[in-house]
Every structure is written in structure tokens, then in C-alpha cells.
């Protein structure tokens, strides 16, 4: 049975990437514990507007864990992750205790400059995808179902890699600001399938070059990205990307 809780939200306010930023606090009272965290923030914004204050800016879209827009660093963890495979929009107030202070921060990384408050610019990920996250070969007409044999394991793993929603939690959690888990998942979703393997070497080189150009850090295998990934991407993808990249460079 649902019960109501009261919490203090300590949220980050920042006017643009060059502003120093600061924390503001707001008391949220009698919030039903089956309210989602983003709904609680909506309630908070209503209260802030009613008090004549500026609302708190944060990213969100589908609110069902598939678009990768929500991006809050809650109580020291990206997406406030308390269980495997959950984004901020899938976080509920029942995860917090009555009277608790919830600290909400933006993704902090040089690759993701703050637009306002907790809304960050993640177009860097789009640029990496534009560099090679696609197949450009002519595939002709649709093939018969079993004309290209793909093992169930490969198909499943490629699908798992493709579930990466590009939210940026991996970069946010990484002490090096590295985007390797994202890039490796995107490279792997193609590299595991025959259609994607044709341009595998070119793709790995182009996406890594773009990632480096955009200033993301070097992966030191801390596994922090894997631990917080809302889609449970594995660092075995990073090994695959390393393999693809090294082989491509050795063949040059």
C-alpha cells in the first residue's frame, strides 16, 4: 500500500557551461511513494513556479527507459541506479526514505557541457554516431529469412549491444570521462553481424578518431561504466572495439 513521504531535494542550478553553478534546496512534502522520481521533480517545479521561482531544468522524454534522455546523477550514482537496468525515469520515490535529502547533479564531464541546471549537451554522442555508426553498403533487395546465417548467440549479443540508449551514464560515472562503453556498444552492434563486418575496420577507426577529437578520456578499465549502465552493457564490448581497432591499424 502506498504511503506518503517527505524529502529534501538538493538540486544543481547552473546558467550555462561557463557559470560556476550552485545547489538549491526544496522541501517536497507528502509525496506518494509510488510517484516516479521525475514526477516528483515535476511537482517540485510546480511548487517553485507557484513560489515565483525559476523551475529546475532537467532532460526527459519517453519516461519509459528507452530514449536515453534522462540524465540525472542522483545521490552519487548516474540515474540513481538502485537496480540493474533502470534509468532515472524508472526510479520511484519508494527507493528513498522519509526525511532523506536527495542530491541531484548533472552529468559532469568536459564532453557534456551544461546547457542549464541538469540539462547537458550530449550531441557529442550524435557526432560519434555520424562518424561511422551505420552501414553504408548496398544491401540490395530484402534477403530470404535464412539466406544469411547468423547464430542465435551473435544475434542476441548484437541486440544487447544495440539496446545502448546513449544516455551518457558511462561517461558520467567514469573518472576519466571516457565514452568507450558507448562507442564499443555501437561498434559491436554492427561488428557481430555479417552486414556490419564489411565496414568494421573503417567504422572502428572513424568512431575512435571522433571520440578522441571530442575530448573524451582514455579507458582504464575501472568498470564504473558497466556498473551504472542502465542497459547492462558489458565491458567485453570494449575488448571487441580494441580488437577491431588494433587489427584495423595493423592492416593499414
Amino acid at each position: 500500500m502506498a504511503k506518503n513521504i517527505s524529502v529534501t531535494v538538493k538540486f544543481w542550478k547552473q546558467n550555462g557551461p561557463k557559470d560556476k553553478g550552485h545547489f538549491d534546496t526544496h522541501e517536497l512534502k507528502n509525496i506518494p511513494d509510488d510517484t516516479s522520481f521525475l514526477e516528483a521533480l515535476d511537482i517540485m517545479n510546480e511548487e517553485l513556479i507557484n513560489e515565483g521561482k525559476e523551475p529546475f531544468v532537467f532532460d526527459h522524454d519517453c519516461r519509459e527507459g528507452i530514449c536515453g534522455m534522462c540524465s540525472l546523477y542522483i545521490n552519487g550514482t548516474p540515474h540513481g541506479k538502485t537496480e540493474r537496468g533502470a534509468t532515472t525515469c524508472q526510479l520511484y520515490m519508494r527507493k528513498f526514505k522519509d526525511g532523506e535529502t536527495i542530491v541531484v547533479e548533472p552529468w559532469r564531464s568536459a564532453g557534456f557541457p551544461v546547457i542549464k541546471d541538469c540539462m547537458v549537451d550530449r550531441t557529442a554522442f550524435d557526432k560519434i554516431m555520424q562518424a561511422g555508426g551505420y552501414t553504408s553498403i548496398r544491401t540490395g533487395q530484402a534477403q530470404d529469412a535464412n539466406s544469411i546465417l547468423i547464430s542465435k548467440e551473435a544475434a542476441d549479443e548484437a541486440m544487447d549491444c544495440a539496446t545502448c540508449i546513449g544516455c551518457g551514464a558511462c561517461v558520467a560515472a567514469c573518472k576519466n570521462g571516457s565514452a568507450m562503453l558507448f562507442v564499443s556498444s555501437k561498434v559491436s552492434q554492427f561488428a557481430l553481424l555479417p552486414q556490419g563486418q564489411v565496414e568494421g575496420a573503417k567504422r572502428a577507426k572513424a568512431m575512435i578518431a571522433k571520440m578522441d577529437e571530442l575530448g573524451f578520456g582514455n579507458c582504464t578499465n575501472t568498470r564504473a561504466c558497466e556498473a551504472v549502465c542502465p542497459k547492462c552493457e558489458s565491458i567485453s564490448n570494449i575488448a571487441r572495439l580494441n580488437r577491431e581497432f588494433i587489427c584495423a591499424k595493423l592492416k593499414d
Partner: protein, 254 residues
Amino acid sequence: MWLINSSIGRKVVMAVTGIALVLFLTFHASMNVVALISAKGYNMICEFLGANWYAVAATIGLAGLVALHFIFAFILTIQNRKARGNSQYAVTNKPKKVEWASQNMLVLGIIVILGMGLHLFNFWYNMMFAELAETDGVALASNGVYHIVRTFHGGCPCEPTTGCGYAYTAIYLVWLCALWFHMNHGIWSSMQTMGWSGKIWLNRWQCISLIYTTVIILMFVVVAVAFCLGYVPCDFKEAMGECAKAAGSCCGGC
């Protein structure tokens, strides 16, 4: 040059130099264990690795590997700090999966380098360098067991361990502890960087790293602790011979 210009290339340099250093440590640990069994045998190895051209060339190569590993570690750290940005999180939770060592490799590496400086002073300076420069200690330069006893026991093995011996042993143990953490992460991380890993092999490499590192470090620890506590191999006096007496050491006379 992709090994310098790309993020993966720089990590490959770290991985390859790291694995080469692990192989050297394996050789060094195996060599040390000989000192527990036969003093004469150990001294023969020391003589073989004295001021001979191949040993000097290998030492220069090894110094190059360490320098490359160290320089790239600093380059990567500077780049990673820049990528992280100046803004720090007010609250951070370290996930259970994240090894402490993986987030402190530079600090551990600096401890390892400092310990290595002391180790070079204790052994390399008094052995290979003494031979090359023909200093006063040249008579004892290839007597490796003498240098082990002098460092970890502090004096004659038939007398109690000196404070200096205990201090050196304690410092070496701290150094080896840092090396254990550094190597334990470094080995599996190198394999991951080289792409020789995957869902199955990741766990295997972590297990192999743990066992391999523990065995190598224990080999170093056993030698340091045994000699600190006064252990000497049965042919110790014979190995010390006249050279220790000539150098005024009491070790050969007991």
C-alpha cells in the same frame, strides 16, 4: 602514429610495456627464490647479470620500458583529468564492481617507482654499477646474497636483525603490497586493452591475474622476510668466502 595519437594506441603502449615488466618481475622473482636454496647458485646468477654487455643492454632496455610506461601513465592521466572537467560531484558512490586499485593506478605506480629507486640503491648501485664504475665495493659486487643479508637483516645472520634491517623489510613489504594491487589490475586490464578478452575470458583473466600476481609477490615477500629473520642457505659461508672478510664484513666469519 596511432600508438601515440589515438586513445587505444596509448593504452596499447601501456599494456605492452606493462606485460613486459610483468615478465621481467617473473624472472626476478624466480631468481630471488634461488637465494633461499643456494647462495652459490644465486651468486652465479648475479655474476652472469653483472657488468656484461648483454646484462647492461637488458638493463637499458628495461629502464626504457619503465620510462615509457611511466611517461604514458602521466600523459593518460593528464588527458583523463582534462576530459573529466573541473566540476566535481558533491556526492559519489563507488559501485562494488569497481576495484580500488583500478582507480588508483597512478598513485600505486608512483609508490612502485619510489620503491624501485630504493631497490636500485640497495642492489643495482652496489652490484652492477659498482662493477661498471669500479667503486670500492667492487669486491662484493657479484655477491648477491651478501647484499640481500645486508639489506634485510642489517648485519651478520648469527646476530639479531638490526633496526635498519627491519625498517628496510617493512618498506619493501609496503612496496610489494602496492605492486600487488598495481599488477593485479594491470594484468587483466592489459589483456582487455589488447582485445584478448570477452565475456568469458574477462573473468578468467581476472582470476589468472589474482593468482599470478599473488604467487610472484609471495616469492618476493618470502625472500625478504626469511633473510630478515636470519635465514641463510646452507652454503652461505662458503659463498661469502674471503671477499666478505676482505670487505670487513662479519658475515663470512661466523
